[in-house]
Symmetry: C2
């Protein structure tokens, strides 16, 4: 038997995907049964790293998703449109879909999975989170016996590269960003990465899989890494932490109901924590559940080859199902999306976490007392108060709190900002 | 629909499995469709942590594997017999099988999978390697697009606990082993763990999955941790290494054919290596392939809850297939075993690796020259020669080599042993 795939997009990941499919020797034997039927691109004249027979290439992507010869559509266009519409049309034509597009799934997953269920087709997305790291399928297929309590991870390679470089070289954000852009690790418009939006797409997807409910992308609280400075990285280091952009989904059982914390922000991670050692463009995702405890998945979070490995594994998965079951009665509940309800998301004020804050102030002896009082008044207890440096004629004080309600901490900060002796509060970061 | 499982064994893992199945709330909804049909044990009178209705329990295990009401047999007995025969009978009766038994699969996998393929049933074994860590299914289902070049890992929690304790407390092997036995982390007869046999079972299984061929268990070279001393751990530390019991399967392309290195031994691992941070009873498995690069799976390698998580995930997997495909045409090639040939294993003499060796010697100035000459004569080049301590009236010299052929290194050692100035060679360890 052979199975034909229709590739939408032939860029970084599309090319990596074709490379694997065109060179199956030494890989899983089922790959020999998969061929590339059509390839959709924007421009037919662009020079390509791989020579495909010209009649495979087309700019008419609709004709691919409706082609009766094609069994599986692989969407590697990126962006919201035409990706969303083409995925929906492919489903409507009864095709299974593989996508690496976290942006589309995080925003239109409900619509896409509802249609896929109606039509009895699979929409697989291993490559959308963690690049080459198997994490979506393990969450769906291997961890479902557990009550998941948290999923947290480093899911954006660009920001992890930047933070790692800043920490190893003592360099500042803008300097490292410029270098990352030169090396191709960051895009010309770096917003999606450095402002945390890409990580937010990914944690929305992971949360939905792990917690068995739909998640609205706009419910993810999102802070990027622009405000992280070399100064804070150095202080964190002295206190035993590294700073990582973490994406976090966490079950918090409140009096009456299950709610989910859902957030992306730079975080002080203890150096002994498993996530602390994922550096550079590597990603790592830690899942915690009962009775499992903690498991971590670590590997290359992006790049042509690793991402293509995940894409092709999804294609093989569908081919395995087609070969074994022929016509399916219903979708496998471990591979399809069966969520009906939306997860309830806890407001950020209710979050309970530790904080790191850095203050610039005049009159040090006085100010420590005032800080302590202001925090105390708002129920914030301090783990440590350290006066570390002098910046011009101002003293720098770093505070780490115990677990506090975020709302209380914000109120305390408002009071502190109005203190005579406080010049400014250059950094506020959460601590794991 | 409900699906009935027959549990063979109701010990540590069997009890954990029942706990999950009897308390499905908050887990994957498919669990509500799975019930425990029968439970086979050795003794009906033993007090049990979980009360089961007495008519579920039986000592007649054959009647379970042939029971027409049972869809899936879950083998959690341990040991070779009656586990092997019962698995074969279950298959002969057309039942799918889930097992946590690495010993049986590593030795009788060929026989078991041949019968399973004939009968068109699945034999899943996620719990057999890495306890609760999803690693078997990811290898089969998510990494098959790659040409795997190596699989290496810390796959035995007992020895990792012992080595971690030795390194953190500076304690000696026998002392820590006694403590581990007291805590229940090591068995009364610790041979299977400390001599590396359990790790050898596991790497035989992983190699077979990753490299797509059958592996004979007796082909795994196996050295345990009894000879690792606190002294070597301390020297390794000063040289930038931790000592771990690694199980390694590695593709080595020789002139004419693909051969596999297959070995378990204590290894000096650079502190910056991802595997270096897996401590205590945690396991970690690193897989390398093209185009993926490196991915690592980390988590609890044993214990009732984590192992049961893996067992139940396999059961859910089969139930998902039964629900979706009904009668299968053929087995899914990603979930079944399709190996025909045996992997060719490279002899240990041909292994190319770095070595660490510790010598006790008289007459230090002379001996360093002699050592260098003896190594040089056998084509062994040295990365470092360090005289570190004095032990009684003997000097202690530690040598780390560059990559050498193991055969050459052994020949050099034979020559060195006969040197007048050499008292003894207390340790020889491989370096990653
Ligand atoms: N790159 C990574 O490391 C990585 C990692 C994980 C996930 N992903 C995801 O994978 C997807 C693809 O990323 P990529 O890096 O491969 O993107 P890319 O290099 O920009 O390639 C996009 C491809 O899609 C084609 N395309 C885009 N819009 C089109 C349109 N309207 N009509 C026809 N063709 C169109 C382009 O055609 P032309 O070639 O003619 O321009 C190009 O071949 C994205 O969803 C991305 O988020 C990427
Ligand atoms: N424990 C772990 O952390 C772990 C981790 C990974 C994999 N595993 C694997 O899981 C399997 C089970 O391990 P375990 O720790 O659960 O073992 P266990 O606690 O010793 O339990 C074994 C169970 O099997 C029953 N049994 C043994 N031989 C029998 C026989 N001949 N006839 C009838 N019943 C028999 C025993 O019955 P009674 O209760 O009546 O004595 C007991 O219920 C093994 O293959 C092991 O390698 C264990």
């Amino acid at each position: 038997m052979t199975f034909k795939i229709g590739l939408l997009g032939f860029g970084v990941v599309g090319t990596g995907t074709a490379k694997i499919l065109l060179d199956p020797f030494g890989r899983h034997p089922v790959l020999k049964e998969i061929t590339i039927g059509r390839v959709g691109v924007r421009s037919l004249d662009k020079p390509r790293e791989i020579e495909l027979s010209p009649q495979l290439l087309t700019t008419d992507l609709e004709s691919i998703v409706t082609d009766p010869e094609i069994d599986i559509i692989v969407e590697l266009l990126g962006g919201l449109e035409p990706a969303r519409s083409l995925i929906l049309k492919a489903i409507a034509s009864g095709k299974h879909v593989v996508t690496a597009n976290k942006a589309v799934i995080a925003r239109f997953g409900d619509e896409i999975y509802a249609k896929a269920n109606e039509k009895g087709v699979y929409v697989l997305l291993e490559a959308a989170v963690g690049g080459g790291i198997p994490v979506i399928k393990p969450l769906k297929q291997s961890l479902g016996a557990n009550r998941i309590s948290s999923i947290m991870g480093i899911v954006n390679g660009t920001t992890n590269y930047i933070l790692t470089e800043m920490s190893q070289k003592g360099a500042d954000f803008s300097e490292v960003l410029a270098k990352a852009q030169e090396l191709g690790y960051a895009e010309a418009d770096p917003t999606a990465d450095v402002d945390g939006f890409d990580a937010a797409d990914k944690i929305a997807i992971l949360a939905s899989l792990g917690f068995g409910g739909r998640v609205k992308r706009e419910d993810v609280y999102c802070e990027g890494i622009r405000q992280v400075s070399a100064v804070d990285i150095a202080y964190a280091d002295r206190l035993g932490f590294v700073i990582k952009l973490l994406a976090i989904a966490k079950d918090t059982v409140k009096e009456d109901s299950d709610t989910l914390e859902l957030r992306v922000h730079p975080t002080l991670v203890p150096k002994t924590h498993p996530l602390a050692n994922a550096n550079g463009v590597y990603n790592a995702i830690l899942v915690e559940g009962e009775p499992l405890g903690q498991v971590m998945f670590y590997g290359p979070g992006a790049g042509s080859g690793p991402t293509a490995s995940a894409v092709v594994s999804d294609v093989m998965n569908i081919v395995g199902i087609l070969k074994s079951s022929g016509k399916t009665k219903e979708l496998d509940p471990l591979l399809s999306c069966i969520h009906q309800h939306y997860c309830q998301i806890a407001p950020m004020e209710d979050l309970s976490t530790r904080f790191y804050a850095r203050f610039l102030c005049r009159d040090v002896p006085g100010v420590i007392g005032h800080l302590g009082m202001a925090f105390g008044d708002h129920g914030v207890s301090l783990e440590s108060v350290v006066q570390i440096g002098i910046r011009g004629d101002l003293a720098e004080i770093v505070v780490v709190t115990h677990d506090v309600r975020e709302g209380n901490f914000r109120n305390a900060l408002a009071a502190i900002e109005s203190l005579e002796a406080i010049d400014s509060i250059p950094s506020i970061l959460r601590v794991l």
